[in-house]
């Protein structure tokens, strides 16, 4: 047997094997002790008659004969031919009983009728086909008052079975009802009560597992377990129903088929539980099971028939035997609570099945009915343990997974945060570096070069104080432009021009120039660098106008669509030509920000400087720097 299961086999040392064998023996001992204790005959009170022998006459006789062939009880259709018929005994009483008496038959298969002194006192249902079915149900008959008398009395039991000859008559008790009744009640509880309970539990569990199988279609072992329990519940019905719900021949065969399929389901369940993949074997078993089922109608009716017993009943037993062996092997080679529980229970159930087979084969006394029926609760209990342990394991795994997942999420978020922080720090540094290099460029371009040339003039001694003051003021003005352009929140050229105006006001007043101010906010934003260049162009144009044009009026306008205009009423283009260097500077700066610069004559006289800012201004200017 190969065990290609996912779990590694447990290292089998001698002590572990011994321990497991001990546990197995202990379980079997407990089970069988409980069975024997439950089924043992209780001690009989004094004053109760137990009949050991009765005279038998065949059922074909119309009425019990006064004398027949004596037979010892119990008689068992599996062990001797023709047990149906009349059983009689003479009972001598010293006196007429004062209290109520009863006849108690603890073991009857399948039905009996009881007469006292020729008068029928009761029967357990129909005696002719379909015969009422009692497999393990004790029968109890009260003797009517006055029927028993002092001296000789005759007790007759008519035994009937179907198929004829498979019946059983165990002990026969006669005695005071008060003494016999506890015995009857106990037997009924143990045999009927347990069987009914087992049926209900089995059926309910089958349905529950079927639901589980439906919810978890991937795990086919639940499907087989549910089917097996369902088959067994159906089989159990035979114990409970007195009137068969189907024609007897069909009902009897269905009974065998259910056992058969129970065994098949057990096998398939076990293979899946142990993760054993045997597709060919499974197909073979399934084919055999279907053939056996289809052949059932053509088999002899009696369970112990020499054709039926070896083929069908033995096949069922062997099918049930194989999974038990698999379980046992796994039990000894793996360390798994689940397998331990299932293996022990399957051994227990199988031991009951072997015993029942021996009974049907006539090798053992039947006693009060078959044992297999009492195996179902054991199997259900075992499966319950397995499911609880699986549920618990699944929950624990989920918890572990959850905590692992949470841990991982925490770690990942921390990592992400660190990365983001690094990135932010990098970006901050980058932005600061960019801004710094921009400011440095702006400084070199404007205030720096102004200071350098002023310094050169002062050092060479060529500078006059007025010129130096003018140059320093220009440098200061440019510094202000740079500071204005540093403000990242203010990309509006209108506001920047406004600040320029405040600085020029004093100059204009001193020069006696009237300023006409027509500034509107720009509709689009301007990159700080473009803003600085534009301000420099405007400042240059205004300086030219103030210093060289001799104008009286100066007009500055800025429209929302990006047209900036500086016009004066001074001497015109000649003054512009004087500006020389300043003009080429203005053109360079305009090119740098993609703006169009035009300088032409204003009417009637003067100069007009016109700057057309590119649209969209922000993106274009950005791409340049």
């Amino acid at each position: 047997m190969s065990l290609d299961a996912g779990r590694p086999p447990h290292p089998t040392d001698g002590r572990a094997v011994a321990r497991r064998a001990g546990l197995l023996l202990l379980t079997l001992t407990i089970y069988w002790a409980a069975v024997l204790w439950l089924r043992s005959d209780p001690p009989v009170d004094e004053g109760v008659l137990q009949l050991q022998r009765m005279d038998w006459a065949p059922a074909t006789d119309p009425a019990p004969k006064s004398a027949g062939s004596p037979r010892g009880l119990p008689v068992d259709g599996f062990r001797q031919p023709e047990v149906d018929g009349w059983y009689s005994a003479d009972i001598t009483l010293a006196a007429r009983p004062q209290q109520a008496w009863a006849v108690y038959l603890p073991q009857v298969v399948m039905n009996a009728a009881v007469s006292v002194n020729g008068r029928l006192i009761g029967q357990g249902g129909s005696l002719t086909p379909p015969v009422a079915r009692h497999w393990a149900r004790p029968l109890w008959f009260l003797v009517p008052d006055g029927l028993l008398r002092a001296g000789s009395n005759r007790l007759t039991v008519r035994l009937a079975s179907e198929p004829a000859g498979t019946g059983l008559l165990g002990k026969v008790y006669l005695g005071p009802a008060a003494r016999l009744e506890p015995l009857y009640r106990y037997d009924r509880l143990v045999r009927v009560g347990v069987a009914e309970t087992a049926f209900i539990i089995t059926l309910a569990t089958s349905l529950l597992i079927a639901l589980l199988a439906w919810l978890r279609p991937a795990e086919s072992l639940y499907r087989w377990y549910a089917a097996g329990l369902g088959a067994w519940a159906l089989h159990d019905l035979n114990l409970l129903l007195i009137e068969p719900p189907l024609p007897v021949w069909l009902w009897n065969r269905l009974n065998t088929v259910t056992v058969f399929w129970f065994a098949v389901c057990c096998l398939f369940f076990t293979l899946r539980l142990l993760c054993l993949s045997r597709p060919l074997f499974e197909r073979t078993v399934l084919t055999l099971a279907v053939i056996a089922t289809l052949l059932m109608p053509f088999t002899p009716d009696a369970l112990h028939h020499p054709v039926r017993l070896p083929v069908w009943e033995t096949l069922a037993l062997l099918l049930a035997f194989y999974p038990a062996l698999l379980m046992l092997h796994a039990y000894f080679s793996r360390d798994d609570l689940e397998i331990t529980v299932l293996a022990l229970s399957s051994v227990v159930i199988t031991s009951g099945a072997i015993r029942d087979w021996l009974v049907i084969a006539g090798l053992l006394e039947r006693g009060p009915g078959f044992l297999m029926h009492f195996g179902a609760p054991v199997g259900v209990l075992a499966l319950g343990c397995v499911l609880v342990s699986r549920f618990n394991r699944a929950l624990r795994r989920t918890e572990q997974l959850n905590s692992t997942l949470e841990q991982r999420v925490r770690e990942n978020s921390a990592e992400l945060e660190r990365n983001l922080e690094t990135l932010h720090a990098y970006r901050r540094r980058q932005a600061i570096a960019d801004e710094r290099s921009r400011i440095m460029r702006d400084m070199h371009d404007g205030v720096g070069s102004q200071l350098v040339s002023t310094l050169a003039a002062v050092e060479s001694g060529r500078a006059d104080l007025g010129g130096v003051a003018l140059a320093l003021r220009d440098a200061l003005n440019d510094l202000r432009l740079i500071v204005d352009a540093v403000d990242p929140n203010d990309a509006d050229i209108g506001r920047a021009l406004a600040r320029l105006r405040r600085r020029l006001d004093a100059q204009l007043t001193a020069a006696g120039i009237v300023l006409e101010w027509r500034v509107k906010p720009l509709a689009t934003e301007l990159h700080p660098q473009a803003q600085l260049q534009l301000l420099r162009i405007v400042q240059e144009a205004l300086s030219n106008a103030i210093r060289h044009s001799g104008c009286r009026r100066l007009r500055v306008s800025c429209s929302a669509d990006g047209v900036v205009e500086i016009s004066d009423d001074g001497r015109g283009m000649a003054a512009a030509a004087n500006a020389g260097n300043g003009l080429s500077n203005m053109r360079t700066r305009a090119r740098a920000i993609n703006a169009e610069l035009s300088i032409d004559a204003a009417s009637p006289n003067g100069t007009r400087v016109r700057i057309l800012l590119p649209v969209p201004t922000g993106a274009a200017a950005e791409s340049r720097f």
């Binding site: 203010d490 021009l497 406004a498 600040r499 405040r502 004093a506 007043t509 001193a510 101010w517 500034v519």
Partner: protein, 221 residues
Amino acid sequence: MPAHSVLLVEDDPATRSRLAAVIGGHPQLSLLAAVGDCAGAFEQLRRQRPQVLLTDIGLPDGSGVELIAAVRAAHPEVECMAISIFGDERHVVEAISAGANGYLLKDDAPEAIGKAVLQLLGGGAPISPEIGRFLLDRARTPHAEPLAGESPFTSREREVLELVELGYSYQEIADQLGLSFHTVNAHIKHIYRKLQANSRGSALRSARRRGLLRPVGKREP
């Protein structure tokens, strides 16, 4: 016409002497004293009362803002002006909140300085595009921390500030909005008063501690 007296508080000696020269040389202004710190200013203020206080904001022994607040609390008739550097609108607005009615830049041209002081004395409330923009930005930002006693501007005040921001003079604003020059000036004053509310209590205590006011209950001899 007597010249208007000015107390100058400026810690940078070069700037102080330049401003002192501008004020001293102005025909309508006279320099009362030029000191370099708060202590010197309070010392002067205990002895004589100028018409105009011209103070730097960052002083070695305190803040010009506190000085302005104390002077305005003790002697509301003294006009105060802050001296600032460009790009420092926050401190200018703090000075206005403390009671200043205008400000100068350290590198303003001499003519501009004289003109601004005279405008102040004439009841004007000078404002610059930078300050206008600063106040409007604060009003536009929903969660900016409010200055003491700040209350929302009216829509007319907003209009005025928006034009101030674009560099228009009071007269130009008046022409554009169809108002008089004085109404525009009044709007600006009103805006200043909104900034100045609610800070009088602590300013009075400061003024009393500094000896600008006699303790309560004592009468002037």
